[in-house]
Amino acid sequence: MSQSSAAWTDQRVEIIVASLLRAGVLLAAAVVALGGIIFLVRHGRAMPQYAKFVGEPFELRTVSGIIRGTASFHGRNIIQLGLLLLIATPVARVAFSVIAFALERDRLYVVITLIVLAVLLFSLAGGHV
């Protein structure tokens, strides 16, 4: 395969992936906005407390906690779900790239991309193995 045709394939795959990414960001933004409206309607008159760091409670900190908490329909939970979707979009992009490089039979880049994906998943698991 010549260099130029490889670049062309790369670009076509990337355009598709980039469009998916934008859709992911839009979806995430919509979920965040929905959660934001619920949050503001319910708690808009309370006083903000961000001056002192206390950290978020368990159900807003972990992937499983956020997903489970969504059913409760709390504004903060829904916002956090949207943010999780947002964090997941670049991860999905890397996962797609693994497939794209595999289709191009580019073994070196399948390995490189898998390393990046592994680091991302390690981080999403909270930095614990």
Binding site: Q3, S4, A7, D10, Q11, E14, I15, A18, S19, L21, R22, G24, V25, A29, V32, G35, G36, L40, H43, G44, R45, A46, M47, P48, Y50, A51, F53, G55, E56, P57, L60, R61, T62, R76, N77, I79, Q80, L83, L84, L86, I87, A88, T89, P90, V91, R93, V94, L108, Y109, I112, T113, I115, V116, V119, L120, F122, S123, A125, G126, G127
Partner: protein, 278 residues
């Protein structure tokens, strides 16, 4: 000021930051943390968490436009992401062990550097040094569209670029920024990649790098939904508007003005950090 007013003001501030960030090419994320800590008195850890989220939104949202132009080099981006994501994990881990005052001072210094880097004019296309063995084996050389048609370019300085990318990733994870300025310098100066390819590939990498530290920040409880919501929506919308008007604006003066604003914020961050008023 209740939560509703607080959210509205932060949203407007983030909108402005995203707008100016897109116009100047400096990125909106870099001024979010100073804005939240200095103006709104938010703890720097919450501020960094919210900023990081907005960085992912702008990078991923802008990706489609950049890729279509044909400048982004996916292989360079993916290879260097090994360094940036590993750095981001290290940076995010270090962040939880450093006192807020130290992070504030480091933030100020990086901010000053970014302001300086952004006011420099875009360098002329780097001279092509010919084929390089390591870059060749990694298949980093490629082509890009110019006014004179499709042009080939060769990549060099792979170890230096890779190391700089690790530093960029560490700063991104430590401070919740995109580190776009340093990424561009690593590619443009150290690896001799054409400027247009460097900037668009840098944008491609920023979202993935930020995601690598966002997971850790989320687990540490740094990402507060009430705060991240107006920041993410504001910056993303601002960046979208900024990209729309970018083509019809003279950005030279704007870059200088924004550069000065960033420099003032940088000195505030350093001062606040040293005097411990955070």
């Amino acid at each position: 000021m209740n939560i509703f007013e607080h959210t509205l003001l932060i949203g407007l501030g983030s909108l402005g930051a995203g707008f100016l960030g897109a116009l100047t090419g400096l990125g909106g994320g870099i001024v979010i943390t100073p804005l939240l800590t200095i103006l709104f008195g938010v703890d720097i850890r919450y501020a960094i968490g919210a900023s990081l989220v907005s960085v992912i939104a702008t990078s991923s949202g802008a990706a489609a436009a950049y890729v279509k132009e044909g400048f982004t080099n996916i292989r360079i981006g993916m290879f260097l992401e090994i360094a940036t994501t590993a750095g981001a994990v290290v940076g995010a881990s270090v962040a939880s062990r450093l006192p807020a005052s130290t992070i504030s001072v480091i933030f100020g210094i990086v901010l000053l550097f970014s302001a300086y880097a952004s006011t420099r004019p875009a360098p002329k296309t780097s001279s092509d040094g010919g084929a390089n063995r390591l870059a060749g084996r990694l298949k980093l050389d490629s082509t890009y569209p110019t006014l004179q048609g499709i042009q080939r370019y060769h990549v060099r300085g792979v170890p230096a670029g890779f190391s700089l990318m690790f530093v960029a990733g560490t700063l991104s994870g430590l401070l919740g920024i995109g580190s776009g300025a340093l990424k561009v310098i690593a590619m443009d100066q150290a690896m001799r990649i054409p400027f247009k390819v460097s900037t668009t590939t840098s944008n491609f990498m920023i979202g993935v790098t930020a995601a690598a530290s966002a997971g850790i920040y989320l687990q540490r409880g740094y990402i507060d939904p009430g705060l991240a919501m107006p920041v993410m929506l504001g910056v993303a919308l601002g960046a979208l508007l900024g990209a729309r008007v970018l083509a019809r604006t003279r950005t030279a003066l704007l870059r200088v003005v924004f550069g000065i604003v960033v420099a003032v914020l940088a000195f505030e961050m350093i001062y606040h950090g040293i005097t411990g008023r955070l």
